[in-house]
């Protein structure tokens, strides 16, 4: 045998420091906050417009309206048909998109920096001059109704639908999708009104990241977005979701399913909660990655699944903690038992120093990897400003992770991992799953894939 030079992992080389610069923030006279991050490394640019209105602000009785409005912005404007608009963008090699999430509405564009002005022009066109043509709305309605049907063939959607209902109760986050009837009822006048009321400069941020000169860019932005008129925006009333009283199991019956999709979840924190970093580290120990506890247990030791994870879903108004895995039918009950074992263990036993440091080192170490691409950096900056995080959020991110202690992790686990009130959702063959899962729940409901309760 060869004598090996090194039997143990080598020490690192000398560390290389990495600092993220701060962007410049300018407010236009109409209230639009413009954030510019110069990055001349490659001739690229990313632009995002974010609005503090999302799906949760859909007017009463119009679930899906914000999403429809966002989706239709580029499908016909005062100056271009949908087809002409798509051709204009793609001839630049650029891409433009618009969509809504629970809390926000976003327009995004990226291109070679030599086309920055054309990109801004096209974003301004779809933002300020959409025409919402009847034929495009009609196509949107029909495609969306088909899409709603299609997503019912996807187990993750079905699991998320039931989990959100159980976790969020009467809170708007409990609704993850409009119904076909919601979509059918969307009229052009609703889109025009919502666009006029919500997509206003005093409700928005504009972020530009890339190969730009701020002093040249601001006048270009002024020219295209300066005349955009502010108007008062309706107050958004935020309600608090109410924690569940006990364990409810919802089974979505998918006869013949080769696997069970398991989703366990309970309420946790808002994105701005001071406990965010503690919970982030706790989640890294528990289940965020391939070296976390639930993955090591359910996949590496037991071979029940291809992947088992936990995640924190911290949004603007509320948030939750979820554990998920897709397991073969006959180990559904065994998988639940192992999940609950890990969920209890992190609440009772203090995490050891090595495991804590491993989790923290991962979170601080991947930070430069996450901002290596312009898209990655843009995403982080955009979230910072949308969620209203500290001005030095990216500069102090790693310090805040490093400061988390084992006491913090234990406290976060006791506060936010609550196995006794977790919603339990299983998408799979009900006949196979029910006997295995029944012992874990106080109350069982069975649904079909259409979302109707059948037992």
């Amino acid at each position: 045998m060869i004598e090996l030079p090194l039997k143990s992992p080598p020490p690192p080389l000398s560390p290389v420091t990495f600092d993220v610069a701060r962007p410049t923030v300018t407010e236009l006279s109409n209230g639009l906050k413009v954030i510019v991050f110069e990055n001349q490394r490659l001739p690229l640019v990313n632009v995002r417009l974010g609005f503090f209105s999302g799906d949760v602000h859909d007017p009463n009785g119009h679930t899906g309206l914000t999403s429809a409005m966002a989706s239709l912005l580029g499908e016909g404007t005062e100056n271009y048909s949908s087809r002409q608009f798509a051709a204009k963008i793609e001839r630049l090699g650029a891409s433009i998109g618009s969509s809504s999430s629970d809390d926000f509405t976003t327009l995004s564009g990226s291109s070679l920096s030599l086309y920055l002005n054309e990109l801004l022009e096209l974003l301004a066109e779809m933002l300020l001059r959409p025409s919402f043509p009847e034929d495009e709305l009609d196509l949107y309605r029909r495609n969306t109704v088909d899409h709603l049907k299609f997503q019912r063939s996807q187990p993750p959607f079905l699991a998320n639908e039931q989990a959100s209902r159980l976790i969020y109760g009467n809170h708007p986050y409990s609704v993850v999708s409009p119904t076909p009837a919601d979509i059918e009822s969307i009229g052009r006048e609703h889109l025009v009104k919502l666009h006029r009321e919500r997509l206003v400069p005093n409700n928005a941020i504009l972020l530009v990241v890339g190969d730009v000169e701020t002093r040249d860019l601001i006048p270009e932005i002024e020219e295209r977005f300066g005349q955009w008129q502010p108007r008062p925006i309706p107050d958004h009333v935020a309600t608090e979701p109410v924690p569940a009283a006990g364990r409810t199991l919802a089974i979505v019956d998918r006869p013949g399913s080769a696997q069970s999709n398991i989703l366990l979840g309970n309420l946790a924190i808002r994105r701005t909660d001071p406990d965010y970093f503690r919970l982030l580290v706790m989640n890294q120990v528990l289940g965020a990655g391939a070296s976390s506890r639930v993955f090591m247990n359910l996949r590496e030791e037991k071979g029940y699944t291809y992947g088992a994870y936990t995640r924190i879903n911290a949004r603007l108004l509320a948030g939750d903690l979820e554990a998920t895995a897709e397991v073969r039918n006959d180990v559904t009950g065994d998988s639940l038992r192992e999940f609950y074992y890990e969920l209890e263990r992190i609440r009772t036993d203090r995490v050891g120093d090595d495991e804590l440091n491993d989790a923290k080192n991962f979170l601080t170490g991947v930070f430069p990897i996450r901002v290596e691409t312009q898209e990655g950096l843009t995403g982080m900056l955009f979230n910072q400003y949308l969620y209203g995080l500290d001005e030095d959020y990216l500069q102090t991110y790693r310090e805040k992770i490093a400061a988390v202690t084992s006491d913090d992790v234990l406290e976060a686990a006791r506060k936010y991992v609550r196995p006794d009130e977790m919603a339990m959702v299983i998408v799979g063959d009900a006949e196979a799953v029910r006997p295995q899962a029944a012992g874990f729940a106080e109350h069982i409901e069975i649904f079909d894939t259409d979302g109707s309760k059948i037992g």
């Binding site: 001839r91 090699g93 650029a94 495609n143 006869p255 696997q259 291809y306 991962f362 930070f367």
Partner: protein, 425 residues
């Protein structure tokens, strides 16, 4: 080219260790991270006909420990150093990669070298990973609507077993795999002379080369693996098949054509033809089918790039009650038009800008660069191709696209897979 756009070339150094390991270094200090990609010249194309899925099962075994790294230690070492990692298997190759903070380059090299030198194979680990792979197969293929259609159409396009069988393999073959099979496979294919290691990011090239030599230099070379034949007749194996999918909510179809190998002028021309036909909202088929006729819910297409005969696909999920044959006629009409008249000047301008945009964008990430460079080094023996590929693509003319579409797509020599929903109601 209407633009005088020139990308500065990536800095590339190529070396070969005495044991045959090819080393490619791409220094770029913009962000203090480093990516390592190890590419082994083995994929599903090398599998025996009674061991389908083996190359991929083996990939899982590479995370199960080696002489100095415990089971699952690879994940843990990389993650606690603040890195990310994974491995993937295709018909062509198996790759392993990690991105780390720049100062952790030695760790990444040590981990990769330890498993290239001394993979630990136990019956227990094999049984456990066999189960994980079966769950992966259930998750991605068996339990997904339309999850099996690409494996099915490959069997229709290719006649040669090396090309036609699936990478995920069959449950029976996975069950049959033994510890001895794993050991043989390791010895034959996981030798330094059958691999490329590519490093991209912030590092000193002389120091990196010294580290590679230290960790990999004494791993013995092995006899060259058996040569495989991936040649194909030009005819597809099967023109038509109907597939009853119990999970599909709607009917769907997929058309596949057999086309020349990657990096041939014909492949490049067809890759660009694909952009014109199905890429983006301004593409011809999106405008015809999603917009104009409003007949499909979803349209998709892509090229499968291989060293041997390759393929191109167009698929659609039509709206309920739509006549599938009419939709296919629209697709073939558009192909016929492209074969007759070629792309328009606007389409050529779009392609040019998209190619430049894609080339600049892929250079941002050290991992994307390391992988692209490793592929050129492994498949073509020349990592510097990363610096000339854009120009090769930009040099493709409208006439070449017209001709390639006429020769390879405008033909009855294609495979058509019809998906029929076979669930309840």
């Amino acid at each position: 080219m209407s633009h005088s756009f020139r990308l500065p070339p990536l800095e590339i150094q190529e070396h070969t260790l005495e044991n045959g390991l090819r080393v490619v270094l791409n220094k770029d200090n913009a962000i203090p991270v480093v990516s390592i990609a190890v590419y082994y010249n083995v994929g599903s194309r090398n599998e025996r006909d009674d061991r389908t899925g083996f190359a991929h099962l083996f990939e899982h075994m590479m995370f199960q420990g080696s002489e100095n790294v415990p089971k699952a230690g690879h994940f843990q070492y990389v993650m606690k150093a603040g890195g990310t990692m994974n491995g993937t298997t295709s018909s062509e190759r198996t790759n392993y990669y990690e991105t780390l903070p720049a100062d952790q380059l030695p760790l990444g090299l040590w981990l990769e070298s330890d498993r290239m030198r001394s993979l630990a194979v136990t019956q227990e680990n094999l049984d456990n990973q066999r189960e994980a792979v079966k769950e992966e197969k259930r998750l991605r293929y068996d339990n997904q609507p339309y999850g099996q259609i690409f494996d099915l159409i490959n069997e229709m396009i290719y006649k040669n077993f090396a090309n036609s069988h699936s990478t995920i393999g069959s449950m029976e073959h996975l069950d049959a795999a033994s510890v001895d099979d794993i050991r043989d496979f390791f010895r034959v294919y996981y030798a330094p002379n059958n691999a490329v290691i590519s490093i991209s990011g912030a590092f000193d090239p002389a120091e990196a080369l010294a580290l590679v030599d230290r960790y990999f230099g004494d791993i013995p070379a092995q006899p060259v693996p058996p040569v495989i034949d991936v040649s194909e007749p030009s005819e597809v194996a099967l023109n038509y098949r109907e597939w009853h999918d119990p999970l599909a909510p709607f009917p769907a179809f997929l058309i596949g054509w057999k086309i020349p190998a990657r990096r041939t002028p014909e492949f490049y021309a067809l890759y660009l033809a694909g952009k014109i036909l199905y890429d983006g909202d301004s593409s011809r088929l999106y405008q015809k089918l999603v917009k104009g006729d409003e007949s499909v819910i979803q349209l998709f297409g892509f090229t499968d790039e291989r060293r041997g005969p390759s393929s191109i696909f167009v698929g659609a999920i039509p709206k309920p009650e739509r006549d599938l044959s009419q939709i296919r006629e629209v697709i073939m009409d558009e192909i016929h038009d492209l074969a007759a008249h070629g792309p328009t000047a606007e389409e050529m301008e779009k392609i040019e800008n998209q190619l430049i945009n894609d080339a600049v964008r892929m250079r941002q990430s050290s991992m994307t660069r390391a992988q692209a460079i490793a592929e050129f080094a492994l498949y073509d023996g020349d990592a510097h191709l990363i610096n000339t590929e854009l120009e090769e693509l930009l040099a493709v003319t409208a006439e070449q696209i017209r001709y390639a579409v006429g020769t390879y797509l405008n033909t009855e020599n294609r495979a058509l897979l019809d998906v029929v929903p076979a669930g309840r109601g």
